[in-house]
Symmetry: D2
Subunit: 280 residues, 4 copies
């Protein structure tokens, strides 16, 4: 992306938007390489992600010129920070964390893992092998408010762009979630909205489903109800015990979370109401 | 299957079951070609589907000998009827019916379509092109009981082995369902248990899911809660309108229902509690 | 599409193309609803598919204005004919033909089936049930040139836009193919380029693959080497005989061919060299 | 598996095999929990994988008794070593190695990684973070024979059960391969037999395929022609550059290799001719 300009826009739909945008971009002597747009005809809303060849000379000027060209209330982002900082929150399961850290170590994550926070200490040894700070924030023997303050303090010191709940098994309060609005990504181990809440594989086993899944979504105050970023499934059959489902499910969880992280840090995801527009 | 013997058994698990079965089969000079078994260790239950080379000289004797060799309460089926008779219930959508009838016409369904029953008359012309009886049973202006009696009378005259709800959009009463226990197969247009009930694609669209699915299941008195036979999904994205989802979903619905029918008529599905054991 | 304008463009890439196009479209008081574009940076080639709200008052004028605004050599298509005419060529297998004809009968194909041509007579009865002309063109006892002339004469009388080879098992000559350049779609029963040529399932079985597939592609003079439109696969295992693969494969063949037909008749496919750009 | 007995058998098919095996097992007071068998009717060959509850008192006696009960030439394995030792061979790409080592570190691999051998030194730092021996065997400036002797010497000192070629980009000689017959597993970055040999993604890109894949297989003297263990694919489209395909392909490569390793070390794979029987 070194010689490119990335532009994200959402605004009310109107006649001639593409022309207005393209003209503005052209005046800044940028050439559109890819332009992915989507019009929600029900909500009368326009979304676009544009990659231009060439670096904008002045991001602020380009932003201002675009806003001037668009319907009032438009949101325009030019060249969002490319190297996002991620704080990973975990409990005991290692598979998602392992996947993220290996990518980070080999510079294929596209983001920086600034810290790992665990409500158990199990994943410290692994994390520290990669010289990543691991913070143990025990949830026991304290109120949820205190627990969350502890986490918030740790986050304060690391200033992450996104919080990744990589099988973090505590439910966060609305207060906490609001503080990191649109910046918390969770992996839930079911194809939501099936099997909301605890023990989805037990629920799946009891129901006798023939496929299991995982869902990466932004976290809101409603448990497992936030905007979905990515989902995937794999087939199972009657012979799968709950334990077999858990094992098989981990493969999906880590690949779905990894995909969601990639989409978000490449600025391919726009949140709109309780949904996402994903420009893959 | 002309020179083969098919045996289905379910019973309590016990030591030496395979030996007892294999010895009994061998005494009837049959050679086991494939033997698919499953032990539910929690329920202590044993299930097996055996295909033998050779025709049993006496199905009743083989059945009796197997029952004698097994724990009390065993269910043994030897050579269930191969050419099942299907009654197809429809409303207005044609895609599942079309798929079934084309297979039937070309002798690749593996079953006989003895009649089609519609609560609308829309699909009569198509059905009758294939010389299959079409019965129009209007649900309007009469009680559910009367509507179901009308259907039951039609079924009585055709004596189907299975009722296939091929996008039949009326909810059947528990009374009706009980009369055809374990013999009614429905296709529901979501990956159950997500989006139970009406308008699953509308629900899916509102939730912003990234995949849609279909589920074929046996019908019980609880709506969309019966034993699942087969499920599949396909990816969607933000640009799908409800209408796009409906269109894309039809492709899954027809392939999942078709798969479920094949599994059932090939006697590969054993119902156990609210689940299925499927020997593919 | 009744109140929409569809525009397809390919041309050499250049600075400001989107702006030039958007401005031209805006001058014709059309509003861009969706715009899918692709730049092949290696070939320096630009492709775009635009759907506008509103009917262009004058297609020719819009075309001319776009050509004037674009680099020389641009190909511009405005509102291609929507109801394409398809000639279906078959041999003995019915699954793809059945799928196409059922869609056609229920007005969900999006195209007209103007005739079916078979080098065997097996599929006549099915076709004629739908009042579609069936032409039997026997390939035996005559030269390939004579056989193809016979087919060409039939096609001449029906004037199809596309020829669909729906498991048509004869290899067409380069001469014949050239006459219908970019207008012949074949379904090949393997995931090309694996298993080119005859008996791909036998080849797949001999190789012990763990998945089988199907490929829909435009036909060129090189057997099974034309631009690929769509592909899909499904898993198999050691227990599949060649016959099982054939049966399982038919499900993929018909869904892949059906998808390819939909993409082509919705003008979502642009051929470029030996590849396709597909705006799904 | 601590209180279980695993039995693998392959032999010529014959009447009553299951009975003979089941009786023998019962005489050893073992109860069959799962029994997966397969009869290759063309080759007249019988394969079975049996898990019994209970530990055989005497593995040798059970083996002998089974051989005595079976057609001459039977291969019987009772309780193969459970903790296999793996040597991982790599070049520069880290994704497969990373996945394997993370599983190993967290005791979910089901095998021991006894060493990593690289023909480049790139992956040393990562490997050594986990206290796993890394051996750098440079292939340059020496003959293939010398290079392979160097590797063989390293292997000699570690005594692995299997060699895992985790994107090891050197072609091994027949001599070397023969020394580790049926014990070398490779991941090839295409859905074989498509795109044998070098640069499969470049080949895939040139051909314009709509899906890319990966294949895990046992290595034989014929390049990329050995028995296939597992394969998977994912969809791509015209917008994928070779580089995009490489990136997307890595996700498949690591999951397919990981699956193949699991199947092999759980003794679920039987090699037969140039194919595998996989009891999942």
């Amino acid at each position: 992306m070194t010689n490119q300009t990335l532009i994200l826009i959402q605004c009310d739909d109107a006649v001639g938007l593409v022309a207005r945008i393209a003209n503005t971009v052209a005046r800044h002597t940028l050439n559109i390489v890819t332009m992915r747009e989507y019009v929600d005809e029900v909500a009368n809303r326009f979304y676009v992600r544009i990659v231009c060849a060439g670096k904008a000379e002045n991001n602020e000027q380009l932003t201002d010129d675009l806003i001037a060209a668009l319907p009032s209330g438009a949101t325009v982002t030019v060249n969002p920070p490319q190297q996002k900082r991620l704080a990973i929150l975990v409990t005991k399961e290692h598979h998602c964390l392992g996947d993220i850290i290996v990518r980070y170590f080999f510079n294929t994550l596209g983001a920086e893992v600034c810290c790992v926070i665990g409500n158990y200490d199990e994943l410290r040894a692994f994390t520290e092998r990669f010289d990543i700070p691991f913070h143990y924030a025990d949830h026991e023997g304290k109120s949820k408010a205190d627990f969350e303050t502890e986490i918030a303090d740790i986050l304060e010191s690391h200033q992450p762009d996104y919080l990744i709940l990589a099988k973090f098994m505590r439910i966060l309060s609305s207060d906490f979630v609001d503080r990191y609005r649109d910046r918390i990504i969770n992996i839930h181990h079911s194809f939501l909205p099936a099997f909301v809440g605890a023990s989805p594989y037990k629920q799946a086993h009891a129901r006798g489903v023939k496929l299991i899944g995982a869902t990466a979504h932004f976290v809101t105050g409603d448990l497992d109800e936030g905007p979905i970023i990515a989902q995937d499934i794999r087939p199972v059959n009657h012979s799968y015990t709950v334990r077999d489902m858990v094992r098989a499910g981990k493969e999906i969880e880590k690949s779905v979370l990894s995909k969601a992280i990639r989409l978000v840090i490449e600025d391919r995801v726009i949140i709109t109401g309780n949904k996402t527009v994903v420009f893959e």
